[in-house]
Amino acid sequence: MSYAYLFKYIIIGDTGVGKSCLLLQFTDKRFQPIHDLTIGVEFGARMITIQNKQIKLQIWDTAGQETFRSITRSYYRGAAGALLVYDITRRETFNHLTTWLEDARQHSNSSMVIMLIGNKCDLESRREVRREEGEAFAREHGLIFMETSAKTAANVEEAFINTAQEIYDKIQEGVFDINNEANGIKIGPQLSPSSQKSSSGNPALGTGGGCC
């Protein structure tokens, strides 16, 4: 399927906070209560629409355990967006956010959009981190913030799509250099220079994908 842009995302955060379940809910619209451990990195993809433009999200879901950090770090580079996830029912996953953020900032490109996510908000009775604390952390570090539930799907669409909106806005503002793929953005066949040329009368350079 043809798209205007491809955005690469990375999902990070402590082990067991629900990273893989968020991805599964977003790509497959289902919840798997027992989800096996993510080892290394796994992938997911979905098409979304922002301002009438088709955008393909290519999502890299990483393992949370410390041992894998040296492997997963290499995936920060070349990501346009990051979902930094903690579990509102486990305070220590919130306490580790600073380390995750430092790691992300150090190994990614400076314009990467980071969305802070407090997951498992369906488990209100077991809540250990107040919503206001998440908001305060996000404000202090310049992140977007949302509480989600991979189980009920609450805010899951929004989390992925709002991040894409923010990246899209940054492209419009010229913050992202979209010709540098290391920024995690790829121009799709719809917008690539060759297809633009072909629509202006040079069929020889057509990409074959394009519109119907």
């Binding site: 082990t15 067991g16 027992i34 990195v41 355990q65 041992t67 492997i71």
Partner: protein, 318 residues
Amino acid sequence: MNNKHKFGNNKSSILIKEIPSSESVQNDNESPSKQSEEEEVESKASYHHDSEKPKNGDPKLAKLKKLLYEDEITDLSLLRTITWSGISDEVRPLAWKLLLGYLPPVRSKRPIVSENKKTEYQNLVAQYYNNRQDNDEMYRQIHIDIPRMQPLITIFQQPIVQDMFKRILYIWSIRHPASGYVQGMNDLVTPFFVTYLSEFVPRHSFADVESFDVSTLTDEALATIEADSYWSFNKLLDSIQDNYTFAQPGIQRLVNLLSRVVSRVDKKLHEHLENNSVQYIQFAFRWMNNLLIREIPLRCIIRLWDTYLSEGTLSSTY
């Protein structure tokens, strides 16, 4: 849960076809043509077999039984050449223990070693597991991970089994601080656990074992399975510990080795991956970290491990 396996049967049959399995040799109602096929398979396996064939059976199994249960001292190198091409379910538990070097080749010494090892393990449990701190990080991690393990195989959802895994992993980790517990190690216990459990499941099929209710076993039997699994896991990890130490150098080496192998045996594929900027570490990391356990059905993994353990070492020497 209905799905016992992540993949369909066709995948496993392909695997078994490529590596001749001893199981297939046991059917009494075989057609003559099949019989000769099997003889061919046997002659390919590099071991001598006597001209006198047991009447209703599998000469390979008979040979294994003699090696394991009759010889005073089991010839380990002969054992390896036979087990390399697959081990029958009924002799696999003992064969694995010998191949791993967990039990000695001298037959008369096995019961005492086995008993001592069991006591030693139980002492470790008392010393470390029962005395752990409430806020022990490693324990918390294992405790979160075990209930998430292999959700499609029902036996791993049983509380007794999960507690056994927690103890095995915790004790190993506390005694190996250079790596500690690394996610994926839990999977490496599963072939041992299922194999040693099968000793206590009468006339089983593999599906029986994967869904067996362990609460029907005696405490004595459970303790034996647990201790045997622990020591076997311990032996296995001895040879591959640098897969799990800082930055996981063993895995990096294995992934590089895979890349070199593919570049030789399937240059086109190698170039295709390269042209699309796909790095081997992106897809093969889990293969190595979990020794393929997450990629193919467990009963095929167990067959694969017959060969792994017969090779003697899993470490990459490159």
